[in-house]
């Protein structure tokens, strides 16, 4: 039975379990819910969960384990020759799997009878062509040992999935039976259900860890590859970034980090005050009408695609800044040589980040109890004093979260930097100079034309990894500081 149908079956049994569990609980209490330990729906949910979870878990484990087990057994059947033909066992095995899948598909499409699929021989049939006809990609002609391995692979898989169906359904029914039997008016159904819910909550929280692991794994191999080709010390401490195709590139990360830091700083310098003041105004001063219009409008700023901001920086803000700070500009200072600059990108990025600060902070400020404000106003404080000295400190943890989120977005932003700040990596203090960021370079090296096995392309992964590690470090520091601060206060 295909896994999908099995899944549906398990769920159907589970839903039946819910109804039966609920009814049974009511029956044991003679229809008086006051005699039940928990509400009836908890009994139902308990049966549902106890029915579905063992089945689904088994199904998942089986789906992962079966191929591994079968692969191990099939691998033992591959002769020496296979290794020398293919160079490695894994390549043979991928071909075996592909042939096996192909046979399945051929049977499904009616190109082969099930018996024929089990008995065809390479000597008699052009298997590659037969499979190609049903749309299975094979790298080369099928070797006899590959075909026979594939045939045993199929046989074992068939037995395996039959066994799987039996075991999963058995587990489901067992879970169903046990939980229904356990259902009586004194059973602590709520506690049982809540334990499961808690486990689910924990599982949801753990997805963050899985994501991190996934990111590290998808970056690490290429990063190692990069460091084999390019000395780590030059990468971490080099102050020049100048990749070139012909080799001899200098790939120092320092100017990129400086650019990232500088641009984010300017973006935050724009977004934090504007966002905070907007949030304060919306939650403390504005009437409900203004608030219900202005807040969603500001949120539109977060939804405008970044490429629009990039073009805005390139076409509007850059020239505007040049006309003020450039040569012959309004200030006559001549600090700015071109429209693309740290200040341009920072300013525009700041605008994009306004709603990150304003909307979140507004919600948090709004959640501060009115009694706090009353207390302060009752002492003759003005509203601004109340905000600054009572409301804000109470809302601070949430606001810090919002600002950190904005900072994170600033670090991760690409298009605005590419169009607004330029592509040249530079170490300079002048905010009107063009610079670039780590993220922008990750994108450009990854989508560039260099040999993909060269350090110039692989550096994208090393940049990503380094940025990841550094922000991780910064986050740990932030956590420690926040903790310290909180401990002192309590």
């Amino acid at each position: 039975m295909p896994a999908l149908w099995l899944l549906v079956l398990v769920l159907v049994i589970g839903i039946a379990g819910f109804i039966i569990g609920r009814q049974r609980a009511m029956r044991t209490a003679q229809g008086d819910i006051r005699l039940l330990h928990s509400l009836p729906s908890y009994y139902g949910s308990n049966v549902f969960l106890s029915t579905v979870i063992p089945g689904l878990l088994l199904l998942a484990v089986w789906l992962i384990a079966q191929p591994l087990v079968i692969q191990g057994r099939v691998a033992a059947m591959i002769p020496e020759q296979g290794l020398s033909d293919y160079g490695s066992l894994s390549l043979v095995m991928s071909d075996v799997r592909r042939v096996a899948d192909g046979l399945d598909l051929a049977v499904e499409r009616g190109a082969l009878t099930p018996e024929a699929a089990g008995s065809i021989r390479t000597e008699l049939t052009d298997v590659r062509a037969r499979l190609g006809a049903v749309g299975v990609a094979l790298g080369s002609n099928v070797q006899p040992y590959v075909l026979s391995a594939a045939q045993s692979y199929r046989a074992m898989s068939a037995t395996g999935s039959l066994l799987m169906s039996v075991v999963v359904i058995a587990a489901t029914i067992a879970g169903f039976a046990v939980s229904v039997l356990r259902t009586n008016k004194d059973f602590r159904a709520r506690n049982a259900v809540e334990k499961v819910v808690l486990a689910l909550l924990l599982a949801a929280a753990s997805i963050a860890i899985l994501t991190t692991v996934g990111i590290v794994l998808s970056l690490i191999f290429n990063t190692i590859e990069f460091f084999k080709l390019y000395p780590a010390s030059d990468f971490f401490f080099g102050t020049t970034w100048s990749p070139s195709f012909g080799g001899g590139s200098e790939l120092g990360i320092v100017p990129l980090f400086w650019g990232t830091f500088y641009i984010s700083l300017i973006a935050l310098a724009v977004a934090v005050p504007i966002g905070l003041f907007a949030a304060i105004y919306l939650s403390e001063y504005a009437g409900p009408k203004v608030r219900s219009v202005a807040k969603p409008l500001l949120e539109v700023l977060a939804g405008i695609p970044t490429i629009v901001y990039g073009l805005f920086a390139l076409l509007t803000v850059g020239p505007l800044l040049v006309s003020v700070f450039g040569q012959g500009g309004m200030l006559g200072v001549g600090w700015m040589r071109g429209g693309t600059a740290v200040a341009t990108a920072g300013l525009v990025m700041g605008v994009m980040l306004i709603p990150f600060v304003s909307s979140l902070s507004d919600d948090i400020i709004n959640a501060v109890p009115q009694a706090m404000r009353d207390g302060s106003l009752g002492l003759g404080a003005t509203r601004s004093e109340t905000v600054k000295q009572v409301v804000m400190p109470a809302a601070l943890p949430g606001i810090v979260g919002a600002i950190l989120l904005a900072a994170s977005r600033a670090i991760g932003e690409t298009m605005i930097v590419v169009l607004g700040a330029g592509a040249a990596a530079r170490l300079s203090l002048n905010p009107f100079e063009a610079m670039t960021t780590v993220t922008a370079k990750i994108v450009s090296q990854l989508t560039g034309d260099a040999d993909f096995a060269s350090p110039e392309a692989l550096v994208a992964f090393a940049l990503g990894m380094t940025l990841f590690v550094i922000t991780l470090g910064l986050n740990i520091v932030a956590l420690v500081i926040v903790r310290k601060y909180r401990e002192q206060y309590d």
Partner: protein, 253 residues
Amino acid sequence: MNDIKISARGVQVYYGDTHAIKDVDVDIRDKTVTAFIGPSGCGKSTFLRCLNRMNDTIDVARVEGNILLDGEDIYDKRVDPVQLRAKVGMVFQKPNPFPKSIYDNIAYGPRIHGLAKNKAELDEIVEKSLRRGAIWDEVKDRLHAPGTGLSGGQQQRLCIARAVATEPEVLLMDEPCSALDPIATLQVEELIDELRENFSVVIVTHSMQQAARVSQKTAFFHLGNLVEYGDTEQIFTNPKDERTESYITGRIG
């Protein structure tokens, strides 16, 4: 000497459609303690909050009528509610310490009103206020612990001390002793007595004894109406309205 400090005329308060205060006229004298009594939900807090315009902060609340402080209409457009509230301080019914240290809770008012020239003066104000709030001994060793970690009664006294620290001309106290033991109550009553020498105090209380002990004037509210207002002695010994009498003798609630 005992001039009229606050004079309210035809005050009406609505919460949305609910008519919470119905046409109340009352004069609050200077250097006098006025007690507001009446059954729960009759509008005492609501009326009290009118006197320093704290009702402004409730969206659904609407106040009508005239309230004069020293002859000036406090609902006049020219009046800055901030300045008004600095003159007319308030202790709320539910203690609401700021989520700050005990010290900062008290120092907050003096700081914003610039009552202290320097740190030493501020320290002095804080200590004095906490003493007047009868809570100094309990908190003197933990001035920098958060005010929210105090017991119910301690929070109430903290809020009294906080209100006193800004030295208002009129102090509105909404059941300031509800969570206090008899001794602490006594100390707060002494504070009220002391304040009366220079200022005017309005106190909401459910304790007839307390009203009789501390106040010179008493106002009895019932279902949003001011039923009777007069000298405390007269109200308690010889009430004119029979509702007043019933309440005092414990027959209506």
